[in-house]
């Protein structure tokens, strides 16, 4: 994005910036909208089922986890909790993967056109969020069907907790997208590392189980409980379940607020790293 007639681009050792540095909210929002539109249209134009895939993938995965986990741990696991967990996990995993590639995948653009680079991971995260919000409709439909058949607890949407949890989860995902997008430009092997870390994160987070399942292990090991709660996905996923399902209490221990604080902290770190790293993007792409 370039400046209006009265402004100028000043390019120094610290990177290019537009002066005077007033907010260009409208132009920024228009570009963000265009980039999000490109992500979404580009993704769904190629396939006949379009948006359906975004919903079908977490649904299939939830079904697979439920079937196999029941074989392993028996009836202790309720499908409704797995559905909520897997849909939210898909949002995070996709945001991380797409966010990481958001700058490297637009190398042409970054090398040739001057515009705020953070819009690339932002557009990528926003497109994933829109996806997630649409898939939430399907999620609640599925939960409703499960409850009607007596296979799950009733659905109850908490009008405050649900948006708050989604907002914090988005903050976490955007922070990681910024961090990894910058890292991926500088170190192209980031993707392998991230692939491994994502699978580890999936298992240590209560995605396909919930905390009740961990109780026997956590009892008598307070340090382990602390570690579990410090993982930002633990309070967020538990919060999402509490906000969507009957009979799920959400009472994290007071000190688990640190786990929730990881989300804004990640965003702050990601923003700082991205801001510094973006100077050299064009050289490394």
């Amino acid at each position: 994005m370039t400046a209006g007639s009265a402004s100028r681009i000043v390019n120094t050792r610290l990177g290019a910036r537009i002066e005077p540095s007033g907010p260009r909210v409208r132009a920024t929002l228009e570009l963000l909208g265009a980039l999000v539109g490109r992500e979404l249209k580009g993704r769904y134009k190629g396939s006949a089922l379009g948006f359906l895939w975004a919903v079908l993938v977490p649904l299939f995965m939830a079904a697979i986890y439920v079937v196999f986990l029941r074989m392993l741990v028996g009836r202790a696991l309720t499908p409704d909790r797995v559905v909520v967990g897997v849909f939210a996990w898909q949002f995070t995993a996709q945001s991380v993967q797409a966010g990481m590639a958001s700058v490297t995948g637009n190398a042409n653009l970054v090398k040739k056109v001057f515009f705020p680079r953070w819009l690339l991971p932002a557009a990528s995260t926003l497109a994933q969020l829109i996806n997630y919000l649409l898939s939430l409709l399907v999620q609640f439909a599925v939960l409703g069907v499960l409850a009607a058949r007596g296979a799950a607890a009733g659905v109850s949407v908490d009008p405050l907790l649900l948006p708050a949890a989604v907002a914090l989860l988005t903050m976490l995902n955007f922070g990681m997208a910024l961090l990894l997008a910058a890292a991926h430009v500088h170190f192209r092997d980031t993707q392998h590392l991230v692939g491994v870390l994502l699978s580890a994160w999936f298992f240590v987070s209560p995605v396909m189980y919930d905390l009740d399942l961990l109780r026997p292990w956590l009892a008598g090991r307070p340090w382990l409980e602390a570690a579990v709660w410090l993982n930002p996905l633990t309070p967020l996923l538990t919060g999402l379940r509490a906000a969507s399902l009957d009979g799920v209490a959400w009472l994290p221990p007071p000190w688990a607020a640190a786990g929730l604080a990881v989300a804004p902290a990640t965003l702050a770190l990601g923003a700082a790293v991205f801001r510094r790293a973006q100077r050299h993007f064009a050289d490394l792409l």
Binding site: R8, I9, N11, A27
Partner: protein, 399 residues
């Protein structure tokens, strides 16, 4: 829009250093490995100590051999590349045609891509909506505008991208070698649009290997060589200097030289119709080549020959004094011979002249310089094609 006297682009001591890291993309392991081995990456300066000003409303050309730093210069002005030192200030709305269609998404239609590209160039959405018909008309895509650009030819792609950029009303337009694509008719329309921007006092920075276009359009030319701005000035003398110093002997052109050197080509000067030294010539006017030779002894019946090739190697014409029926009895010491092409029937483009001196029976090559002398031709006649044919119409007779 530039007021007279304003500076549109100002560069102060700008330098850009790159680390050489081979062809592999950067990796964490690679970085760690070289850190452990204590190896510092090689560095080179793509641009050094660049200081210049482009007044608003002027068109500047940037010329120089490949890899001399021209594109880095444009990237620094556009703000996409961060300088290692110094400062570049560009006033007003900048639009770069560094790579047309960089923001296109293959799955989106032409229409959707117009809006996307315009957003990247910072053009408000309403403006694009208002000007969409003009953009579509300029691109000349017809119903294809509703098709995904995946199905476009490269020419259609470029046309659409240029249409968006040209309609974006930039204060400063950066052009990097993009007009070499597309068909001739579209190129002419692009050049028309560039003239229109010039008339409306926009600032243009123009990187091109098409020296005849640079000479035609630019008010001033920067000559870049190995990362330094070595000359700045009027187009004609700067282009001449570029051709003489950096394109010929040992330059980027693949040249060959051989022969017994019993007589050698000592010095060659290109002159235009007025006898002035020149590097760019006009179609339809005379071009003179003065060849000074130096002979070691007496050479009986030498033959002077020449040939012309286009920059991409097409052999255009070759002849010599023997074919032309000019018999030279003998030469000795030093002297000069003049070759004249009148009228010059080459069209716009870059050409390479070869010169040779050999014996009457072709048995001995005294000195031959193959593709040694580059020159450019500019065609102001408006006629199109590869060569100028002397043609004439007989008006229709009535009844």
């Amino acid at each position: 829009m530039g007021e007279a006297g304003d500076i549109a682009i100002e560069a102060r001591g700008v330098g850009k250093r790159y680390r050489v890291r081979g062809h592999a993309p950067p990796t964490l392991f690679g970085r760690l490995a070289s850190a452990i081995r204590g190896r510092r990456p090689d560095e080179f300066w793509a641009l050094r100590e660049a200081t210049f000003e482009v007044p608003a409303g002027r068109t500047f050309g940037v010329i120089g051999p490949n890899g001399s730093g021209k594109s880095s210069l444009l990237g620094l002005v556009a703000g996409t590349i961060t300088p290692t030192c110094g400062r570049v200030t560009t006033r007003g709305r900048v639009c770069s045609l560094l790579e047309l269609g960089a923001g296109f998404h293959p799955d989106l239609t032409g229409r959707e891509n117009v809006f996307l590209n315009a957003a990247l160039l910072g053009i408000p959405r309403e403006d694009v909506r208002r000007r969409f018909d003009r953009i579509a008309e300029f691109a000349g895509l017809g119903p294809f505008i509703e098709e995904p650009v995946r199905h476009y030819s490269s020419g259609m792609y470029v046309r659409l991208a240029f249409a968006v950029a040209a309609e974006s009303e930039p204060d400063v337009l950066l052009i990097d070698e993009v007009l070499a694509v597309g068909d001739v008719a579209f190129q002419l329309r692009c050049l028309d649009r560039i003239r229109e921007l010039q008339r409306r006092n926009r600032t243009l920075l123009f990187v091109s290997h098409a020296l005849q276009t640079v000479e035609e359009f630019c008010h001033e030319v920067l000559l870049v060589h190995r990362g330094s701005i070595v000359a700045r000035g009027e187009p004609a003398p700067t282009i001449l200097r570029y051709i003489r110093e950096f394109m010929g002997e040992g330059g980027p052109v693949y040249t060959q030289e051989f022969g017994t050197r019993e007589v050698e080509i000592a010095d060659v000067t290109f002159r235009d119709a007025d006898g002035r030294e020149a590097a760019v010539f006009e179609t339809g006017w005379p071009m003179h080549v003065d060849v000074r030779w130096r002979a070691r002894g007496r050479i009986e019946r030498p033959v002077f020959g020449f040939s012309v090739k286009t920059a991409n190697g097409l052999y255009v014409f070759g002849s010599n004094t023997q074919i032309a029926g000019v018999e030279i009895r003998a030469i000795e010491g030093e002297g000069k011979i003049r070759l004249t092409l009148d009228p010059l029937t080459l069209m716009s483009g870059q050409y390479l002249l070869s010169l040779a001196i050999h014996s009457w029976d072709h048995a001995r090559q005294f000195h031959r310089r193959e593709d040694w002398y580059p020159f450019a031709v500019r065609n102001p006649t408006g006629a199109l094609g590869a060569f100028f044919l002397n043609s004439r119409w007989t008006p229709p007779s009535q009844g």
